[in-house]
Subunit: 412 residues, 2 copies
């Protein structure tokens, strides 16, 4: 499986998402006119370099799609073993909603227990390739720990800034992975501003969501895996918990690239549902108003920390993908998140996070409205492990006195 660089590296250039300006790959890039960049590939070269059949002999990790990833040299790949995540059929949860073909793609099974690993694996690999040795990022939840873990693996210095009310597990894991970690009495945007301001005095690279071009390429592998796991077809509907939205944007890009290299069995694309909480729904508001850019969410609050993103720099990329797919942006009532989380965990044994619970609420609404039909093939992304959200799942557990006889009938 070892090949030379020229066979595997098919990046042609970077392209500004806002106006199509071409920028060179192979040098450090951030934003163009304040907006993100796409990585573009020579897809003819990809088609010549690899076939669907070639994949069968490759390890079941996200790096099996090597030719559709931006790292030029294998030795720059920074990996913690990003095994393909299982696509789990959910008959019991499906029955609850009247569905036979409900699937959860369980991203909690990646390094650091969240989908953030995909983006950071590629972003840190590219940082290494480009000679970066110090990185920083703001985080509202799982991103900070993921960056810290991959930076540790690469031997880089990392700095993480997070709101003081970030979930405890996310706070501790960043420190544990060796990041210099700081709390801010504010929101993720305040943290983002500090990361931006520190670039010059601290000499770090700003790894904020979409402020470097490569996290999206890592997230893209969610879509590549899904297509392969479904026999190179795509589901009818994807429900995706949308904070910064990189995953949704990345998957839509993946489906386009797969179409262009001719790997899909048919032209059917999924309708993409961007799912948010009523506590923080800027993308839903913009979708409802027919806008391409979102106003900042006011007073953002939700137990789904990954959805607490009042300003998404890729707002127009999310909204473009949702509309192009004939999908929707919808919010679930914040008060329902915990119930959906508990119900899914107890029915299927999958550690569903509150962000993914928002997708179940949206799904129920869309089924009731007749927008999604009961015989469609539906995929929800579980973006992180429920175990990382102890604040959300506070429960009282009864204590038994083991020195006295147990009253069995009282156990229920």
């Amino acid at each position: 499986m070892i090949t030379t660089q020229s066979q595997r590296h098919c990046v042609s250039h970077l392209e500004a998402a806002i106006d199509g300006t071409k920028l060179p790959a192979g040098t450090i890039q951030t934003l163009h006119k304040g907006k993100p960049l796409w990585v573009r590939y020579d897809l003819d070269a990809v088609r010549e370099a690899v076939s669907r059949e070639d994949l069968v002999e490759r390890e079941e990790t996200m790096w099996r799609y090597r030719e559709l990833l931006p790292v030029a040299r294998d030795e720059n790949i920074v990996s913690l073993g990003e095994t393909m995540t299982p696509l789990i059929h959910c008959p019991r949860l499906g029955a609850r909603l009247g569905l036979r073909k409900l699937f959860i793609k369980d991203e909690s099974r990646l390094p650091t227990g969240s989908f953030k690993a995909r983006g950071m694996a590629v972003a840190i690999s590219m940082a290494k390739e480009l000679g970066i040795t110090r990185v920083a990022a703001p985080t509202a939840g799982n991103a900070g720990g993921a960056m810290a873990a991959y930076a540790a693996r690469a031997g880089m210095e990392s700095y993480v800034f997070m709101p003081s009310d970030t979930p405890l597990v996310n706070r501790y894991e960043a420190v544990l992975y060796g990041a210099k970690t700081f709390l801010i009495d504010g929101l993720i945007n305040d943290c983002g501003r500090i990361v931006g301001e520190g670039k010059e005095p601290m000499g770090w690279f700003d790894m904020s969501t979409l402020k470097e071009p490569y996290r999206i390429e890592g997230k893209k592998t969610m879509g590549l895996e899904l297509a392969e796991q479904m026999g190179w077809t795509l589901p009818d509907v994807i429900l995706y918990p949308t904070g910064g939205g990189t995953g949704l944007i990345g998957m839509w890009k993946a489906f386009d690239e797969l179409t262009q290299i001719g790997w899909l069995e048919n032209d059917n694309k999924p309708r993409m549902y961007a799912c948010q909480s009523s506590g923080c729904a800027p993308i839903v508001d913009a979708f409802d108003k027919g806008e391409r850019f979102a106003d900042p969410a006011k007073d953002p609050h939700t137990i789904a920390s990954g959805l607490r993103v009042p300003v998404a720099v890729g707002d127009f990329m999310i909204l473009d993908a949702v509309r192009e797919s004939r999908g929707k942006a919808l919010a679930t009532d914040e008060d329902k998140l915990l119930d959906w989380m508990r119900e899914a965990c107890a029915l299927e044994g999958i550690a569903l996070c509150p962000e993914a619970a928002a997708c179940l609420g949206v799904l129920e609404s869309a089924l009731a409205a007749g927008e999604i039909s009961h015989d469609e093939r539906i995929v929800i992304f579980n973006t992180g492990a429920a175990q990382k959200y102890i604040e959300a799942m506070q429960v009282e557990i009864p204590t038994l006195d083991h020195t006295k006889p147990i009253e069995w009938a009282s156990l229920g």
Copy 2:
């Protein structure tokens, strides 16, 4: 890959570990003379049914070793997608110890974030096959959540009993997965007694470690995967965090079965190191005294909750395997666990749990004593995700005032 039952099911009988008594498979079994049972296979039938080459076409999950697992019918397999765990080369942590060939097998990447998933996947599948609908278990850490998750997936009722000071994440996850969960002001053995006493009044099956024959078969897949990942050879040394010890016992059984079916490239077996904490080291005490059975640990205490097992029902099976392998049972100073955990996480980005940290302490001692040499191929098992141990990783994180200019020099 679908075949008939007769081709895939190769169990011949069960065998009492204490005296070799044969017992029939296919019926509910627990202990014999108070001691655990082995599952025995017709290994000639296994050799005929499957070859190493056949595995290449199978999915990279623990079920690829189908013929060496006890489930008779595919439809009884209860799965949450048990993908093969990565075997991660650790050059930076290795350098810290003067090693070039140090590997961590990262079991935190299984469902529920711990190696307990392997055992429970098989035990709950077998419970389903045998018609059991209600299960109960004592737990000191990750086992309860894993049982609850697989029971949920199977649609079974589950009951979990745990000491009041079990880590918070373990307490919450059991509830989240729908288990009826109870705290006990005592130790895991007090919980185990309640589970035993409740069998008749509550009609549940006792899923305690080694009190049913199948968890060990699930844990066995750690050894099967390791062998395959190392090109059907075995490492020189395995360091394994040992509480109940099922994993160590299971791996040693796996290596024996692989030898008998002729899949290993050579006869070299690893030296097995059973690693404990000075706060609870009954197996180490028995090893040092030359005993086959261990005295209960007094005043057991350790941040490595999975090692807080004062009485292991499979003590003699652990000690037999360790001695047969020419390995050792060794304890790390409890006070060093947190430092090793932090160091490994920060050097390699792997979410090393405190149980696995005990292995690093033992490794350092054994290297210093010259028992393990610096050019050997060494594997440590990371049995769970560090993120599940928030009590162990308590840290103070500095807060910055984002409304004032940041003093960059103060960030370090």
